[in-house]
Symmetry: D2
Subunit: 289 residues, 4 copies
């Protein structure tokens, strides 16, 4: 028999004794630390911690643990979350007409490399209806005409949020979803929506980054996974990577090379999220790899 396992993430003002009090709490409740990581940000004076532990005392239940930790957390004014390590987070994937990231995430999911439930795929196009079907995942076609009115966009986004709510979605992944989310939508999804941008931000924000990269003559191109915020392409960066290119490559080639980078960068970000490794630190992230 194996014990229940939990992942605790927390942040609070840096102060003496945090690690000691948290580890003491766990020891007192029959928990064994499997993995633990901390970080104190000298600039923001915030302290961040992630602890993966097993609960080895049958007399201790999740609710009890949660309630008692809340008391400790209050005394130190912590932001915290306690996750059942065996519970698969629920994902919704959004895509438009370019599907390599979608296909990549679906295969990782099916192979068991990504321990999640994918509850819904949403698209403003129908290109990937059959791909969704081959994985037996509900596909929601929520079109949005070019130059749609504000009301039309609002209505479409309301439907997206309905699906998020109806499916208890933990994470929305914009896997090359080429619509700009409204500020209200961004707010509604704060901290639980990840986008892949096809450039090495902050270079080449906005549309057609591979064309911009070609125009500028850079020697490496990249991709950036970041949390979605109302500030377009400015959300907290989770992961980035690059690939080498040269003068002989047209924008089409850059685009093809970039796709491989986008896939791995987004997949890493999603994996870290579902393993509860990413904490927000203002407009930056702490990633406990």
């Amino acid at each position: 028999m194996s014990y229940p396992e939990y992942i605790l993430t927390l942040s609070c003002l840096d102060q003496r004794g945090i690690v000691h009090r948290v580890s003491g709490f766990l020891a007192d409740h029959g928990c064994n630390i499997i993995d633990s990581a901390q970080f104190g940000d000298a600039q923001s004076q915030l302290f961040f911690m992630r602890v993966h532990f097993s609960s080895e005392d049958v007399a201790v239940a999740e609710e009890g643990l949660r309630a008692e930790f809340a008391a400790l957390a209050d005394t130190m004014q912590m932001q915290w979350q306690l996750h059942d390590a065996y519970k698969k987070p629920r994902l919704m994937l959004m895509v438009s007409k370019i599907g390599h990231c979608l296909n990549d995430l679906l295969f990782r999911y099916k192979s068991g490399l990504l321990p999640v439930e994918i509850s819904a795929i949403v698209s403003n196009h129908t290109d990937f209806y059959q791909l969704a079907a081959s994985y037996n995942i509900p596909f929601h076609h929520l079109p949005l005409a070019a130059g749609a009115s504000k009301e039309a966009k609002q209505a479409q986004e309301a439907k997206v949020l309905d699906i998020v709510e109806a499916n208890n979605i933990d994470l929305v992944v914009l896997a090359r979803y080429m619509q700009i989310l409204s500020p209200a939508m961004c707010t509604a999804l704060t901290g639980r929506a990840i986008n892949i941008h096809h450039s090495f931000l902050p270079s080449f924000k906005g549309a057609k980054p591979y064309y911009q990269a070609h125009e500028r003559g850079v020697k490496l191109i990249g991709a950036t996974a970041h949390f979605v915020t109302g500030d377009l392409d400015e959300g907290p960066i989770i992961e980035q990577d690059v690939a080498r290119v040269d003068h002989a490559m047209e924008p089409d080639t850059l685009t093809a090379i970039g796709r491989d980078v986008e896939c791995v960068v987004l997949a890493r970000a999603v994996k870290w999220f579902v393993e509860h490794r990413i904490l927000l630190n203002g407009h930056k992230t702490v990633v406990f790899k």
Copy 2:
């Protein structure tokens, strides 16, 4: 006995038969192609070529070759250069108070990894006077007070250009020289001055890029070697590379990690320049590696 070797670089409007005519010219003049590379830019409609060849007919001298190629080049309106492959280009290195790139280039030079003559080191500070002395290279201290007048700057730059001229300098390397060159100076050095910028351009232009990178929370930092132009940090990019960083690193650590990237990026750019591998294509470069 080994034959004289030359490196021919050329560019012209793309048209049928360029390779054939150049290779025919060389065959007719008793030359053997050792290495050859071409590139046609679909956008600018320009064709670029670099040919490394040996001249195996004793009756053919460099001046003859040069004069006769000029005639061919005229018919195709080529920009071209013919370099003696055994002649070491003459370099001037410029530095301020941060010397890792200087030290790196000097050691490569001394080890024979960089086939150049280093004829002068110029600095607005004296920090590296002894390092220059240990390599027995003339060190020119040309100070420039903070907030110096336009006239003072002009006078200092005139002295720099005097050294360039007096030493027949082929390439000026700004190895962390922290003064902005005047437009006149940039013009005077067009195509023969390389700068190392300590960011992955076009991200984080200007001063203190590692602080900007830290502030933005990027996950990779980089460096860019580019030709100096009047448009600050916008010159044609020659080479770039990056290194991975994480949330726990302060700007100081980014700076330290970045130094290693700066060294290799600048060293590659300088090596390619002295091997005549870099051709200008508008505000971009063609690099025949």
Copy 3:
């Protein structure tokens, strides 16, 4: 109207005038060089060349070009191939029970990133029957029991070769096909079978390389795409790449990280093959990227 395009690859003993004679032949036959690359190997004294050209004279047909080039090639004892650049090579993919490379290649193919026909998928298992079906590609289940007799293996391989022949296959891709091919099979597929090995060869040959890597405590793991030869894991290397790992990662994690590397390394090798960029140089490869 666009012109027919061809890719010519050749190798022969290095000698003066090869480029000139080839470019002359093309000019004489109304062909325009789009892209050309050469390499002379000082060690083997062999010269390699790849020329991509368009045939702009309607009076010149492929057979004529081919017959006349054969005459030139004979005088220089060239090994050569002339490929219609618009003709998609025909691929057969082989896989066992681990399907990330298969899935990756299939999606690239469907997205138009890999200009090939995939004519058959062969497996000794049935795990990917449905994946094949979703792409509408014939799936051949050719099982081979553990410890099968030499005769059984021979019979299975004969069926594989039948499929290769029946479909005019240009390239067999072992996309994690976990059976060792017999020497006869290797010979039959010489120069047209690529394997992906899940280590950075020559490290960790044989089975379970990620376990070997974990045991040795290396800090990077890799993957290698190579031509299949009778000498297991010793075939000419086409492409390699690596990813960073650390002490905290179990073999399972190395395996997961390695998969991403395997996908891109194999995809690059396949792409270069179908673009006729890979030439054999003894037990090494020349790759004109």
Copy 4:
């Protein structure tokens, strides 16, 4: 006024409560954790920890801390070390005729990037006498003729060890020292000698790895920093990195490219050692970056 800071490293059999007891000890002694990292190895059942802390209670002195922690460590059968974080480790550098790593380490040291004392440079040649002099570091020429007798080698190594002892050396760095150390010498320096091997181990052990790499036709070359053990090129790996190469590069070019990799790999390993980030785990390392 700033507080004294220490770095505690420890390993012991994994058991419940280690983090709690260590953090409790520190809290009880007025110490504040600045940075902490742990790792439990499922295979060896060993637990590793590194804690960087400040001692903020003036009543607590280093000896007291040390004595009292020894008591705790005993109860858990820990291997442990407590280092004054402000005390610079003492290094001895060894080199033969190839000096890029030596030059690189010296410049990092002089620039303040490597917080160490370099107390001695030892070489079996005199090539770098002047470089040592320019940094004002004692240079010991301890020649060893090719094919020297066992006794001669023993005598030379005895002198090396004398210098180690006389200078209280914490770390011996073999910065391309091309002599195989005797088993006795390896034993004497266990855990405090780092070598840079110019290949991506375990590939291409032994001499001339770049020639082996060229012969095999690999597409990446690398370097490995490892602890020196009696088992040549088999010591625990600390760090590795690679660089891309291609078919056109001769062994000389691989060697030149490899040098840059060697420099950064060795510099990282040395930096991590002097920051007490490397713990031994059998024939592997734990590196708390």
